[in-house]
């Protein structure tokens, strides 16, 4: 078991108002799975993804990654967990406009500080080739289309070969055709390279491709199915 979430709860406090975002969440993700959280806006998909990705903290319960409970980790330790284990793909791509495509993709490896620049360059070229962006390495993100930018984000998330890639509505900002090609790319990487994906979506096309689907409503898992 790669990831196991047990009895996870999360409540937001705004002044005297309390909002329960996640209620007794239990789920599991196996290595190599292509798992999706589906549900309407405000259902808690992104909050759940953020808690799993250590970007936010749950209030109670546990999140086990390879058997290690992330809920007990300190802030600095969580940064290391993110650096070593997770790749993120965001709805708005979140690329750095001042950096070239190659510089954006290499960033996780630079932060890891484990490889030489030559090794990093080689990996970046291979990864850009995989996502169909060979020859774009010296361009800036704003010179690319939305679909191409999301492909760069996928490449950036994949470059360090993380245990788990967390994608928050990766097709939401793309037209259906472009969105489909991005999901197709992720699926290919999942099937061919065994990359584990966990994403939130309310796109039916994405849901169809998921090997496991959790339906979330009002912060609770209402149904799950496995293909």
């Amino acid at each position: 078991m790669l990831l196991e979430v047990k009895s996870l709860n999360k409540t937001y406090h705004t002044g005297i108002v309390e909002f329960t975002a996640l209620k007794n969440i239990n789920l599991s993700v196996e290595k190599g799975e292509f798992t999706a959280f589906a549900g309407p806006s405000g259902s808690g998909k992104t909050t759940l993804l953020n808690c799993i990705g250590c970007l936010d903290r749950g209030e109670s319960g546990s999140i086990l990654l390879d058997g290690v409970d992330l809920m007990t980790k300190k802030t600095v330790e969580l940064a290391h967990v993110r650096k070593e284990n997770f790749g993120f793909i965001f709805q708005t791509y979140n690329l750095f406009p001042v950096l070239t495509i190659a510089e954006n993709v290499e960033m996780p490896l630079k932060l890891l500080q484990k490889e030489s620049q030559e090794e990093i360059n080689e990996k970046v070229m291979k990864m850009l080739s995989k996502v169909g962006l060979s020859g774009y390495e010296n361009r800036r993100p704003l010179e690319l289309s939305g679909g191409q930018q999301q492909r760069v984000a996928v490449a950036r998330a994949l470059i360090k070969k993380p245990k788990l890639i967390l994608a928050d509505e990766p097709t939401a900002n793309l037209d259906s055709k472009t969105g489909e090609s991005v999901v197709e790319l992720m699926k290919e990487l999942n099937v061919n390279e065994g990359v584990t994906f966990l994403f939130s979506t309310h796109d039916s096309m994405v849901m169809k491709r998921a090997s496991k689907l959790y339906e979330i409503h009002d912060g609770q898992i209402k149904a799950s199915r496995k293909k």
Binding site: A79, R82, F86, N94, V98, K110, L111
Partner: protein
């Protein structure tokens, strides 16, 4: 750290206009400080030189009971010239010795009269210690003529070739009148000298004073900066005189210099505060604009302190390069002020010399220390200024940054 610096540099170049404005503020401040500091240093250097060359020599000896409140009293006159000269000249560090006599007199032009100070100088030895000729603006030094201050000449309507009428008391208290032709005009850095002093042959003064005594002995040494030490040596051997170095004698002027330095430091302080406010503003806006990118960096595992260092590095780059450019512009400006100087003659005529003992053109000098001090202070201030806003980044949760709508 290298990667963080590279990222910081790219971030800075992203908001070029804002960066250039902050950068220019710092550059301008450093340039102004460089110019002022070098100009002050130049004025001080020339002023001290002028004081030494015109008034004090390296070491000055006066009567052991010299009364500061009555400097022209005949009680202050010294004798035993031969004995004292022998004690002085035996030292190898002594390069020149001369004596002068100072007395108070009244100058009359038939319409007005003015109090003046007569300085009797030894025409054969004075040039061994002083450089009176350097301050002659018109005419020349003559054995039987007088050199009078330019302002005094103007006030009394005198010019070269005119006769100055002087009256004073001799050592016996008897009034003496002296008519002496004006052969030169004096324009020194000391406004009081320009307004009140008349230089003439010491023999003429002593003859009219009915004495062979003198007011002071001035000594030139091999190194003016060792004057305190030399004064101590001479004082031990010459008990009949009060021996002081030019440094001690110019303490009032040194106080003015010290005040000017404080003013210069205050200007630097104000410049740094303005630059710091600019940098804080730049970094705060930068943080606000890059909230989502900060979130993304944190999501990718960049540690809070590394994100903080990224923004501190932005401040460092702005501060360091801003001060470097300031030094370059300051150096270019100083090249002009060092080789051509600034002519303040007309301003000095109207406002006085503002505490400096110098005339006309003010020239700057290189102050090498400034290059290190300014670079260090400007960079340190920039790092300090960026630290506070950068520290805020540490407290920001990645999820809050990523949620930002931009």
């Amino acid at each position: 750290m290298k990667y963080i610096l590279q990222l910081a540099l790219k971030n800075i170049l992203r908001s070029k206009r804002r960066t250039i404005l902050t950068f220019m503020m710092l550059t301008f401040g450093v340039t102004v400080y460089m110019i002022m500091s070098s100009l002050y240093a130049g004025i001080d250097e020339v002023s001290f030189d002028n004081l030494v060359q015109f008034e004090t020599g390296h070491v000055k000896m006066r009567h052991v009971n010299f009364d500061e409140d009555r400097p022209f009293s005949t009680d202050n006159l010294m004798t035993q010239k031969k004995e004292i000269y022998e004690k002085i000249k035996k030292h190898n560090f002594v390069k020149g010795v001369t004596d002068r006599i100072n007395l108070l007199a009244e100058m009359d032009n038939g319409i007005d009269s003015m109090p003046v100070v007569i300085v009797g100088y030894d025409q054969s030895t004075d040039k061994d210690v002083f450089e009176l000729a350097k301050f002659i603006s018109k005419g020349k030094m003559e054995k039987d003529g007088a050199i009078i201050g330019v302002d005094l000449a103007k006030d009394m309507g005198l010019d070269i070739g005119d006769i100055a009428n002087l009256t004073f008391r001799d050592v016996n208290g008897m009034y003496t009148a002296l008519d002496i032709p004006v052969t030169a005009l004096l324009y020194s850095g000391d406004p009081m000298a320009n307004k009140m002093k008349i230089f003439m042959n010491i023999e003429i003064v002593q003859k009219n004073m009915d004495t062979d005594a003198f007011s002071e002995i001035a000594v030139k040494t091999d190194n003016m900066y060792n004057a305190n030490k030399y004064a101590e040596i001479l004082q031990k051997e010459i008990s009949e005189a009060d021996v002081k170095s030019w440094k001690t004698l110019s303490y009032e002027f040194a106080n003015v210099v010290s005040t000017k330095k404080k003013a210069g430091n205050f200007i630097l302080f104000v410049i740094l505060i303005i630059a710091m406010v600019g940098i804080i503003n730049t970094i705060l806006i930068s943080i606000y604009e890059k909230r989502r990118e900060i979130g993304t960096l944190k999501a990718m595992g960049m540690l809070d302190k590394e994100v903080r260092n990224l923004f501190v590095a932005e401040g460092f780059i702005i501060g360091f390069t801003g001060s470097l450019f300031g030094l370059v512009f300051g150096t270019i400006a100083n090249l002009y002020f060092i080789y051509h100087g600034l002519d303040f003659t007309s301003m000095m005529d109207q406002m006085g010399n503002m505490g400096a003992s110098m005339v006309g053109v003010m020239k700057s000098v290189w102050v090498i220390k400034d290059y290190f001090v300014i670079t260090f202070l400007a960079t340190a201030a920039s790092i300090f200024a960026s630290y506070y806003p950068a520290k805020k980044v540490m407290d920001m949760q990645p999820v809050d940054c990523l949620r930002t709508v931009q």
